[in-house]
Assembly symmetry: C2
Homo-oligomer: 330 residues x 2
């Protein structure tokens, strides 16, 4: 594709299973988008440069080189080249200080891989934890509000809750929510009871458009937060309900309603843990896809917790832009 304006730099979010790239103007506008399914899990270090050029090659100038800022698993130990974790507390406008440059064959690129963040167990209640990719979305918040203070939730396979204080990430917690949902829906005894398990917690917003599914989701959120110790009993209860509850519809709405219940239980368990760390009057900032954020919004409303949304693409581009500015001025 020919783009009318030459990009000034290129933003890349390179995860385990895919690569997304944006051609950026000097003013921070997106001039073009590209992507592929060549993620960390399918690449060896020698493959990365070619995989990148296959996506962004058309954006490069005939003369000179462009900055390419990369976040995500490409910087993991098993990725292109390791950008070692930086430890919290960490100022999110300084991520670039841990950036690493891979060796390249091409002279048309200046690639920098941003580091992830890690947290060590300590006496203040912090537990071992890691993130790689989400820190750049959080930096996007700081790009827009340098002294940002508040709690941020990034739903997903491994959902992250982060606490920011004046632009510094002071602590975070990862919940296995999305992975638990998928394993239970697809591979446990519950798979017999759930309709189309591919409608996962991360893609099933439509299911909650059905009011009875939304009710089942909300009831499950309430149960999981009121008595998190009953979580694994309530999981088996979904199977028992399918066998015994004569009020369930017999058609495909049956599995959808039980799937909504499972989603409410796993998201509710996450919220039961996360709300312990919430500060009084906190508004939770949700960064994630529309379908999943709609579920989290409903769950947060069920608990009376205020929330707002930040578009995940806007967040990652702002975070990568902040890192590029830092590199240009240091």
């Amino acid at each position: 594709m020919i783009i009318s304006q030459m990009p000034t730099w290129i933003a890349v979010d390179w995860g385990s299973s895919n690569l997304r790239a944006w051609a950026m103007s000097a003013g921070g506008e997106v001039l073009d988008r590209g992507g592929s399914t060549q993620g960390m899990l399918s690449l060896t270090p020698a493959d990365y440069e070619a995989a990148l050029l296959a996506v962004i090659g058309d954006w490069l100038p005939d003369v000179g080189a462009l900055d390419v800022l990369v976040c995500g698993m490409a910087g993991a130990r098993q990725g292109w080249v390791e950008a070692p974790y930086r430890r919290v507390p960490a100022r999110l406008d300084r991520l670039a200080d841990g950036a690493v440059a891979p060796a390249l064959d091409s002279d048309r690129l200046r690639v920098r891989l941003l580091p992830g963040l890690c947290q060590h167990e300590d006496d203040s209640g912090r537990a071992f934890d890691v993130m790689r990719g989400e820190e750049t979305q959080l930096a996007g918040l700081v790009a827009e509000a340098p002294a940002f203070t508040g709690t941020v939730c990034l739903p997903g396979t491994h959902a992250k809750w982060a606490r920011l204080d004046a632009g510094e990430l002071t602590g975070f917690t990862t919940y296995l929510t999305g992975e638990l949902y998928r394993l239970l829906a697809e591979r446990s005894v519950l798979a017999h009871s759930l309709l189309s398990p591919s409608v996962s917690a991360s893609s099933g917003s439509d299911a909650l458009a059905d009011p009875t599914c939304a009710s089942a989701f909300v009831a499950a959120v309430q149960e999981a937060t009121a008595a998190p110790e009953r979580f694994s009993a309530r999981l088996f209860g979904i199977r028992a309900r399918d066998l015994l509850d004569e009020t369930l519809p017999a058609d495909e709405r049956r599995g959808a309603r039980l799937a909504a219940r499972l989603s409410g239980l796993v998201i509710g368990l996450e919220l039961a843990g996360a709300r312990v760390d919430l500060h009084r009057d906190d508004t939770v900032t949700l960064i994630g896809n529309d379908a999943l954020c709609a579920r989290y919004a409903l769950a947060l409303e069920t608990l009376g917790i205020a929330h707002r949304r930040l578009d995940p693409e806007r967040a990652v581009l702002a975070g990568l832009g902040l890192a590029r500015n830092r590199l240009a001025t240091t």
Copy 2:
């Protein structure tokens, strides 16, 4: 095999994935044992009689017929013939009243399939739940002590906690503990960190012989019961600990210790739920295999809860014997 004394009746525990049979004397002694891997999941209704005869055929007399008492999934809707669930509260000495006789080609057998038990959601706090097989082990307790009152735990893939009151099952709760462990150890992001996931929660007693593994298990039980709302965060924490904790050994003990931690988290979450229902000064009766009961015993001791063991074979044989006596006298 030729056995010296002719059996008076035959006991069968027929589950999803295997069949176990015992040739019984009039006095309740085991004269011989047999079994196969032909469980409910691999059989159609027309296959059951031949599968049974393949195991017990040699025990049958040349003339006359023997009682064959069967518990377990063979009586499920998708089994040999359905023995419908009976509803709690249920007197465990009356299971035989719900027994069903399948049609047979052979005139050398009198087969009775015992029912499972179900529980419906009600205002007293009961939740939907089902069991099929465990009720016969519980009946074994009642065979030995007709007015048994107390709390019983049957560890396993779907662990059951049951409350008995004067020989009546008044309520029960199933926890997905064993299945959660297996899914997380074998199919989640934690699989990368755990050594030999086939050392499952249900077979890994040896691992806890290592004192550091036992310590990791106990610490995880304490954490899961103290803050069950952090369960899914602590799951991801196992992965983060593997990446960051420099105190972990680098050899194969590393994975074993992290596996012990996972086992402690899932069993601890179960105990967090179950202890809410415990009566003051309850002694928990554990019915299950040695390895798993050893873990539960350690977890219960960690929480200061008294326990005793009942051999699972003794329990099921006593329960089937109780049902046979009931059939003989009604």
